[in-house]
Symmetry: D2
Subunit: 366 residues, 4 copies
C-alpha cells in the first residue's frame, strides 16, 4: 500500500475497463455480516446486487426477505459464471476466504473480503499476488477505517497535527461469543490493528509484537489478551481485547507530541476528543539525553476540542471506496496489503502467545 494510493481519495482518471452503469455484485455468505453488505450494496447507486449466495439457500432467501428481486442461490459456480457479476463480496468464515476469493479472482471478478483477509499470512499473500497479477481489485472490509471518526483521526495523525506519535492504546472489550476456532485476538484485534495501520504515517510502522493471554474459563483458547507493539520510532502500541467483560468498551487513545486524541466509539455525542495538552521536556533537543533527563519538566494544559463529524455510515463509504478502486484501477484505501499487515501481526502475536509473551519480529517491517 503506497502512500499515493492511500491518499488517492478522489478518483481522477477512470481506468475505463469497467461498465459506465452500476457494477454487478454478488455477496457470498448470509451469516452475521452478509446482510449488512446486502443492505449497503442495495442502497448504493454504484452497484447492482445480483446474487446472495450461501451454502444454505434458505438462509440466503430469508436474508433477502419476501419483497426482493435479488436472486438467492447456493450455487457459487453459477454466480461466478454470470457475466453480469463484476465483483464478489466475501462474508464467509475466515477459513474459507482463500478458496472463495481465489475462485472469484480466477473468474476475473474484483473481490471484497471481510476481515481478516485470510486464515494465514501465506493464504493472504496468495490472494494479493493473484489479484495483482490479474490487475483486479482486492479490498479488505476494514469497516472501522471508513467511519467519519477514523477518517478524521487519520487526517490529524498524517498531517502532523498531533505531532510525533508517542503511544496508541486501544481497548475493545465486551461480553463476546466465545468461538470454537478463533481466539479473542483473531476475533477482535483485527479492528484495532487495521485502524492502527490506517492512521499511521507511512514512515512509522510496527516492528515487533508481544502478546499475553489467558483462558480462565477453559474455553480452549485465549478469551482475554493483551498485545504490545513496538513501533520503529520508539512509540508503543497496545491492544486489549476481552470476551469476558460485561461492559462494552471501545476506546482508542492516540498520543502525540503536540496533541493527544481519544476516540470513544460508544459516545455518539463526542466520539473524538482532541486534547491540546501534553507533557513536554523544556530542554532543547540539541542537548544530550542525560542532560535532558536532569532538567525540569514543564506541563502544558490547554483546551479540548471535539470536532464535528459527519454521520455517514461506514459501510456506505466502504462500498463507495470499493467502486472507486474498481473503476479507477487503483488500490483501495484498505487493500489486500493492508489486510496482510494485519495478518502479519496476528500471526506474530499467536507465536508470542505460545512462547509466553516473547517478543516476535514482524515480516512487514516496512
Amino acid at each position: 500500500m503506497k502512500d499515493t494510493a492511500k491518499d488517492a481519495g478522489q478518483d481522477a482518471g477512470a481506468a475505463g475497463r469497467e461498465p459506465a452503469g452500476p457494477l454487478g455484485v454478488a455477496v457470498v455468505g448470509a451469516g452475521y455480516w452478509g446482510p449488512n453488505l446486502v443492505r449497503n450494496f442495495q442502497s448504493s447507486p454504484e452497484f447492482r446486487l445480483r446474487w446472495l449466495c450461501d451454502l444454505d439457500e434458505d438462509r440466503a432467501r430469508k436474508v433477502l426477505g419476501g419483497y426482493s428481486t435479488v436472486q438467492a442461490t447456493s450455487d457459487y459456480a453459477a454466480v461466478l459464471a454470470d457475466p453480469a457479476v463484476d465483483a464478489v463480496a466475501v462474508a464467509t468464515p475466515a477459513g474459507t476466504h482463500l478458496d472463495v476469493a481465489l475462485a472469484a479472482l480466477r473468474a476475473g471478478k474484483h473481490v471484497l473480503v471481510e476481515k481478516p483477509l485470510a486464515a494465514t499470512y501465506e493464504d493472504g499473500l496468495r490472494l494479493v499476488n493473484e489479484a495483482e497479477e490479474r490487475g483486479l481489485t482486492l479490498m479488505c472490509d476494514h469497516t472501522y477505517c471508513y467511519t467519519p471518526a477514523v477518517g478524521r483521526i487519520r487526517e490529524m495523525v498524517r498531517s502532523g497535527e498531533l505531532g510525533d506519535i508517542q503511544f496508541f492504546d486501544s481497548v475493545r472489550i465486551n461480553l463476546g461469543l466465545v468461538q470454537k476456532d478463533v481466539d479473542v485476538l483473531w476475533d477482535l484485534a483485527p479492528h484495532d490493528l487495521s485502524v492502527l495501520d490506517f492512521i499511521l504515517p507511512d514512515h512509522v510502522r510496527p516492528v515487533a509484537v508481544a502478546a499475553h493471554g489467558a483462558d480462565p474459563i477453559g474455553a480452549g483458547q485465549s478469551c482475554v489478551a493483551y498485545l504490545t507493539l513496538q513501533l520503529n520510532n520508539g512509540a508503543i502500541a497496545h491492544v486489549h481485547v476481552n470476551w469476558l467483560s460485561p461492559t462494552k468498551v471501545r476506546t482508542t487513545m492516540v498520543g502525540g507530541s503536540k496533541r493527544t486524541l481519544v476516540w470513544d466509539d460508544l459516545n455518539p455525542t463526542q466520539r473524538v476528543a482532541v486534547f491540546d495538552r501534553g507533557v513536554d521536556l523544556t530542554a532543547p533537543q540539541e542537548i544530550g539525553a542525560d542532560e535532558r533527563r536532569d532538567m525540569l519538566v514543564s506541563y502544558r494544559s490547554g483546551d479540548m476540542v471535539a470536532p464535528a463529524l459527519g454521520e455517514k455510515e461506514a459501510l456506505r463509504s466502504m462500498v463507495e471506496e470499493f467502486s472507486g478502486a474498481i473503476r479507477n484501477g487503483r488500490p483501495a484505501l484498505t487493500d489486500g496489503r493492508a489486510g496482510l499487515q494485519v495478518l502479519d501481526i496476528l500471526e506474530a502475536a499467536s507465536r508470542s502467545l505460545e512462547f509466553r509473551g516473547a517478543v516476535v519480529g514482524l515480516r512487514t517491517g516496512r
Copy 2:
C-alpha cells in the same frame, strides 16, 4: 501477612502496652503527602500530633499554618528522643524510607510508611524484620485499600460473591509529573498492585510478571508501561500506567466466574458496579477440556447493581487502622509484608522491562 491477620478487623484483645489516651505521633516529610497525614492525624481522637519534621523547617511551619500548636522542626533526632512520640509517619522520598524508618524502629517507635515501603525489596525486608524482632507495628500507607469502594470489593471477592477470579484489569493514567528518579511503574503501579494484593483471596497469588514500557519523550525512563501478571489459578492481571495521557482514567475491572465488577474511582455517583452477567460454558466440569471446547457456549445476561457505599475518607480509615494495629499488637491490614509483595512485583517488572518483556518469576509465590 496471614489471613487471620488480614481479617482481624475487630481488635479483640488489646496488647496493653500502649497508652490509654491518644498516641503521640510525628509526621516526617512536609512535601506532597505529608500535609494529608497532618490533617488526618489532627482530626483523629486516637492520635495527638506532636511534631511535623522536615529538613526544611520553614516548609514544615508553612504546612502547619499560622494557627497551629503543633511543633515544626528539622531535628529528627529530637523527635525520636521525645518520649511522648509513640509513632512516626514517614512521608519522605522513597530512597530515604530505609534510613528514616529504621531509625524510628530502633528508637522503639511504631512506623507508618508512605508507599512504596522502600526503594528495594532488600530494604523493605530489613524494615519488616526489624519491626518483627522488636514487636513494633510497621504499616504501609496503601491509601486506596482504605476507600469504601475497595473495602467492599475485597469483601465481595473474598466471600466468593464474584466466584473464581478470572481477570483483573487496572488503568491508571493521567498527565503526570515526569520524575527524575522513578519511572511510571514505580510511581503509579503501587496503587494497583496494593489493591490487587488486598482484595485477592489468600490462595490466589501472582506468580510471574512481564512488563513493557516506552519512553517516547526521551525522559530517561518509561513514561508508559503495561504490566501483565500471571496468577497461580490461571487468571491474568494487567496494569496500564501512563504519565502522558491528557485524560485521567482510574478504572479497575475484576472479572469473576459469577459476577464481574467495575470500579471507577472518578465516578462518584457509581464507583462500583457489579454485573450479574458473564460467560459460562454449559458443559459440566467433569468432562475434559477438549470436549468442553467443542460445546456450545451459553451467555448469561442479568442486572447490574451499584451498591451504596459510605463516604468515609480513606486516610481517616487508614489512620484508625494504624492505631488499631498499634493498640492491639496485630498486623495492620496493609502491613510491611503487604508492602514487600508490592516491591517484589515492582522489582520483577523492572527486570522484565530491561529484558524487553521477558516473564520474570516472583519471590513471594506464596
Copy 3:
C-alpha cells in the same frame, strides 16, 4: 383506554374476522417516518406490505428502492379500493391525519396513525368515534411506549414497585428542525406525554397544565417550552422541550415513594437505573400534616439496580401490537383514546402559552 384493554398483553381469543395469513397493509406518506414503517411491516410475518402511497410517487418509489416488489403509487383511492389491504398506516403531516385516516376507516380499513393522532382534539375524537362505531382498530404510533425500557418502567410503576408516584420529569432537547407549522411543544412533547399516559396507574391522571415558552430566535413559534402538569394525587409532572440545544438529552425521571428511576435513552449500557433510595418522613401516616411537618426526616440510602433489558426494536413491537389488536378485536395498548389524552394536554398547553402560563384544566380528568 380501559385498564383491561391496556393490560391485554396476550391476545387470548381471536376475533376471527381477520385473515389467517398476513394482513395486507399500505403505508401512506413516504417522508421522514414512512420508511421506518415500510421496513418494519416488511420484516413482520404478520403483515404483507401492498402499497407505499405518497402524493409524490417518485418519492415513494425512491423509498422502496430498486429491488422491491412493493407497489408505489400516488393514487390513494386505488389503495383504499384494494380488497387485499386490511390496514392503512398513516405517516403524513398531522394536518392531514383526519382526512386520510377517516377515508381509510370509511373504507373499512384498520388504521395506524403517527403521533399526534390529529391536529386537534376535536379531529381526534371524530376518528375515535368513527373507529369505535365501525368496530375497527385505531392505533397511535406512540413509538417510545414500545421500547423495552418503557415497557419495564410501566411494569414497575403499575405494579407498585416504585410506590406512589411523586414526580415525573422529562427532558427532550436537541438541535431540532425549526418547523413552520408546529411549535416545539407539538413537535416533541407528544413523546413524553404518551409515555406518561402509558406508565401511570389508571387512578393517577393529569388534571391541569401550565406552559411557558419562548421564541428567542424569532421563528414565529415557541422553540423552547416548559410544561407543568398537576396530577390528581398531588404529584407533579414536568416536560422540557427545546429545539435550540446543541446537546441531545433524553432523560426521564420517575420518582416514587419507594424507589425512583431514571430512564436515559441515550445511554445504551444503562438505559434504566432504579434507585433504592428516597426521602421518607419518619412520622406515621395517621398523624396530621402539621405534626408530620415538625418531625424529623429520615433518609434512606440504598443500592441502584440497572435491570437487564432486551434489545428488541420498538417499531417491531409496535407493529406486532397493531396486528394483535386487529386480529383480536381489542384496543391497542396505545389506542385512539391514548392519542386523545395527548391531544387534550397539548391543546391545554397551547392555551396556557397564550395566557402566559395560566393553569388550564384538562377535559379528560379521568
Copy 4:
C-alpha cells in the same frame, strides 16, 4: 450593583482606611457552612481569624479542633467589641441574618453573609442601606460565582462570545435534607439565581417569574419546584430544584445566538463545554417577522470546545474578593445588591407558588 463595580476586578487604588496587615475577621456560626469559612480565612494571608462564635461554644471549639490558637466563644458582643476584628462573616440560619449582620455593621465591621442575604427582601434592603450609609462592605457569599467555571462563563457571556442570550436552563437536584422552615426553592435556587445574576450582561434582566411546586411527601412545603423567568430581551430562564432525586444533577445550559454552553459541575474533566452550533434563521434581519417565519431554516454544526479551567477553590477566591472590596472601598462582585436581586426573585416565586403559577413581576426590573 453597577457594571463598573462588577468589573472592578483589579483593585487599583486602595481606600487607605484599612490596616496594611491582615484584616481581623470573626466567623459567626459553627454549623454546616462555618467550618468552610474558618478553613479559608485561616489559609488566606489577607486575613487573621480572631474568633469563631456560636451560641453553642462547645460546637465552635469542636470545629476549631484541638490544635488551634483561634478563640471560640458564644459571646457575640465581645466579638463586636474587639477592635482587632475588622470584619464579620455570618454563617447562621437565614432568619437571623438581619440581626447578626445589622449588629456587626452598627459596630463598624465589614460583613460577609451566607446566601440568602436575608429572610426577606425588606430585611435585605435594610442591610444594604445600613452598609451604604456607613461606607462598609456588605458582601454575599454566592460561592458558585467564584468557581473558575462561572468566572469563565461570565466572561464569555458578557464579552458577546455567545451572542445574544436566548435561554438559561439550570437543574439542581439531589437527595436533600427536607427542611422545616424553608422550601426547596429558598434552599437551592439561590445558587442558580445568583449565577444567573452574575453572568448576565447588565442590559439583560429578569422581569417576571412563575413558579410551580409540589409537596408529594407531605413535608409541609415544596420539595420539587420549577421556576420560569422572563427576561427583558425575550429570553427565558428556567430553574429546576428537587430534594427528592436520588441522583445528583448540577447542570446549567446557557444558549446564545452564536454559541451555547453547558456547565456540568459534577464532571471535573469537562465542566464547561462550548458548542459552536446553533440554529439560525437564514433570513436577513431587515425583513419582517412574518417573512422570516416562512423562510427556510439553516443549521450550523460545528466543533465543541472544553476550555481549560484552573482548579482554584471557589471559597478562596471569594475570600480574596472580600478583602479586595474592603481594602479598596469598592462593591464586591457579589455585593448586597446582588443578594437583593436573588431575594426579589425568591419572594416573587413564593407568591407565584401561592397563586398556582401566576406570573409575578419583579421589583428590580433594572
